[in-house]
Subunit: 453 residues, 2 copies
């Protein structure tokens, strides 16, 4: 929302509070459908339903599509059968499917009963595509042309039938049996002569995806090729739908958020933070915290084994947090870059060798720098003995290299065994690196300082 939109929102609220409905309606109708929906979402359900009925018919469906699930559910329950029926037929198919996926079972039943048989069949078909697949985010409202049309005919066709199409800007050319033969943009059509044939200006090398393709990969294709729409075909290569750029953009945000959540050791959730209940938040966060808490006791067991070392030389304990934290940070830097690189398709399994060699050298550079600074600091400032300063700095140097390697190799291996690489992020890397760093530290200490363990 821009600042201006924010001001208008306040004005709308004032008009509502003063019940000046005529002015309210006038100002409301001037707003973008998304802003109208956001405004309605903030009101009590009854007030929202009241204002919703004030909208122009041509706005209502679009506003409805932008409403959050709770508001949609309330409106559906408040609508007459006639209104439900009209709404479901006016909505774009992908918006209708999105809504139905979130409605409670009895509302779904009512909506499907009130839809025309054809719409019902389409919706049921769409509901079958696996979650997060191209099929689940596509819409069937695309513009279909045939090879033999002239540019003039094509433009007339679009002008006549375009109203119902989610995007008219990318048109697909298919055979009678719906096999995808080419793609032509409205731009191509407008910039050609009226008498040119569609088959001569279309691009026959269409980049397409299958219904089962992962939505994340679909979104990457939009990023890669700067498309406005991408055709989706079934296994017989028949055109069944299109994905539009607005849905691809939603996927990009959704997938990035999911990665952020998994990388911070949470079960991913599609709900915004403020709309998620305390209970759900606690549930999403607990599983991994339990697993990691149990794993962290490995470090405890290791410390148990080296009890003698820190009884003899308690100062060793004071450097533990610095050592394990730095190892954890160094490792999660690497894992973050690799996970992100793989999500953007910039790093592949076949790059593993290059990655390891790169991280090894980076580890040496960074580790050396940190070890030297650390040595100077604890020897001259904290004034520990020379051998202790050496032990701590040497352990730090090797820990950094080891952490970089662990942090870069594990995400790539995860992908290789079909796990989400994002699991191999800071929390897990930290736990693994903690244990390794402590063993290293006390082993070096016991050897160089001649402490029996």
């Amino acid at each position: 929302m821009t600042i201006e939109q924010g001001k208008i929102l306040d004005e709308l609220k004032d008009l509502l509070a003063e019940r000046r409905f005529i002015e309210l309606r006038k100002l409301l109708l001037e707003q973008h459908e998304k802003d109208i929906a956001d405004f309605l979402d903030e009101l009590s359900p009854d007030t929202a339903a009241l204002l919703f009925r004030m909208l122009r018919k041509d706005q209502a469906a679009e506003v409805f599509a932008y409403l959050d699930n709770d508001s949609q559910e309330f409106l559906i329950s408040a609508f007459s059968d006639q209104e439900v029926s009209e709404m479901i037929e006016t909505l774009y198919l992908d918006d209708a499917v999105d809504m139905i996926e979130e409605l409670p079972a009895n509302a779904v039943k009512r909506v499907l009963q009130l839809a025309t048989p054809q719409t019902r069949k389409l919706i049921n078909h769409y509901l079958k595509y696996p979650e997060d697949s191209a099929g689940s985010i596509m819409t069937s409202e695309y513009t279909r042309l045939t090879k033999g049309m002239t540019v003039k005919e094509a433009i007339e066709y679009i002008r006549h039938y375009g109203e119902d199409r989610e995007t008219i800007y990318t048109c697909y050319v298919t055979s009678a049996s719906r096999i995808l033969e080419g793609v032509v943009t409205v731009r191509d059509l407008l910039l050609s002569d009226d008498d040119d044939l569609v088959k001569d200006i279309m691009d026959p090398d269409v980049i397409k995806v299958y219904t089962t393709e992962d939505q994340e990969r679909v979104a990457l294709l939009f990023h890669h090729y700067d498309f406005l729409a991408l055709p989706v075909v079934d296994i017989e290569k028949r055109l069944v739908g299109i994905v539009t750029i607005d849905d691809a953009l939603d996927v990009v945000h959704e997938e990035a958020t999911e990665d952020f959540e998994i990388m911070a050791a949470m079960s991913p959730s599609e709900k915004p933070y403020l709309k998620t209940s305390v209970w759900e938040h606690a549930k999403n966060r607990s599983t991994w915290l339990f697993v990691l808490m149990i794993s962290a006791t490995i470090s405890g067991a290791i410390l148990n084994r080296y009890e003698n070392a820190f009884m003899v030389l308690p100062v060793l304990v004071t450097f533990m947090p610095m050592l394990t934290d730095t190892g954890g940070n160094a490792g999660s830097q690497s894992s973050t870059l690799i996970i992100r690189g793989m999500a953007l398709d910039e790093i592949k399994f076949s790059d593993l060798g290059i990655v390891i060699w790169k991280e090894f050298r980076i580890g040496i550079l960074v580790g050396l720098g940190l070890a030297i600074v650390n040595f100077l600091r604890i020897y001259f400032l904290i004034k520990v003995s020379f051998p202790v300063a050496l032990v701590v700095s040497l352990a730090l140097f090797i820990t950094v290299i080891l952490s970089k390697l662990t942090g870069s190799i594990l995400p790539v291996l995860a992908r290789a065994v079909n796990l989400d690489p994002a699991i191999m992020a800071a929390p897990l890397i930290t736990t693994i690196v903690d244990a390794a760093a402590l063993i290293l530290y006390f082993q070096i200490a016991s050897r160089l300082l001649h402490i029996s363990i």
Copy 2:
């Protein structure tokens, strides 16, 4: 890239190796401009230049825009003056500016000398916009209509002048002095009658941004409103350019990557992982590692103070990693959600109270669960004494609550003082929480177990 594109890439490489240039050219020309650019980027500069000259004129500029900086630089140096001049005039202005920003100074000089005075002036103007502002990603090639045009005239205007426009699908209506008066899409035009006037079908409530607007906010507007293009105005509200959805999508990826990097304690870099040198990687990662290493010694100092406690009861040391790791993880879960929520504009400073109250309750739920499991495990399995089990579990419970609060409050405060909230992520939170957890732990231990400290 889809699997099919991958196969074609291999085929192109084979044809090149066998020097079958005629077939190579034929197959190459059929590919999407982005795929041609990716293919050329992988070749030696000389071979790439050779193949680039085989492209059709209408493809060349688009392929050039997709090439990476190194390839662009080589081509510019290999081009004749005539070729440079043609290329700079054919490129979309935003692509030309992107290229010039990355070229070495002498190449920039040559390019600007070979551009027409008008193009040179425009480029120089664009180069002045701050990095990451709307001005820096906009293009001036947009379609401008006037109120008095009929739909027929508008469509004819687009058909005549559309060739040079980056997007023709969203057209802007301006006054003679370029004040933005309305927006009309090609869809609106095509679905209206030929005799309708532009002023009657345009939407006069145009959502626009200023040239100085942050690109991240611009990208959020695309996400919010499902736009294909967004107009950019100067402080006098005159239309100076448009941002198109493909550039907004690039920004979304770029900003998410930047957040991932900052949140993993790195200086952000726009270069892909594999194209960044070992030296640059080491540089990007060192600063924060140094800062965090020094900060982690606070924990060391705290441990120093409680040396007596763990000399008396060494078992206390073995639970330190579990305690600090769990605290770190619990805190970074919260900070990640808050940082992401603020990046998507779902959480604002005014929500701070709600956030604190929410996190407090989540902390109690999660902390209680973890503390109980931990108590049972260490009392019955590891068989520590009852008071020690109580001390560890109590410290864990309070640490989790404290971590959740720290992790959620710090990012919001960072935004309030105009720092990037992403700084307040796992690494910094872990360091802070470590120190707090250790103080808590040893204070509780000394009181409940009556150890003098």
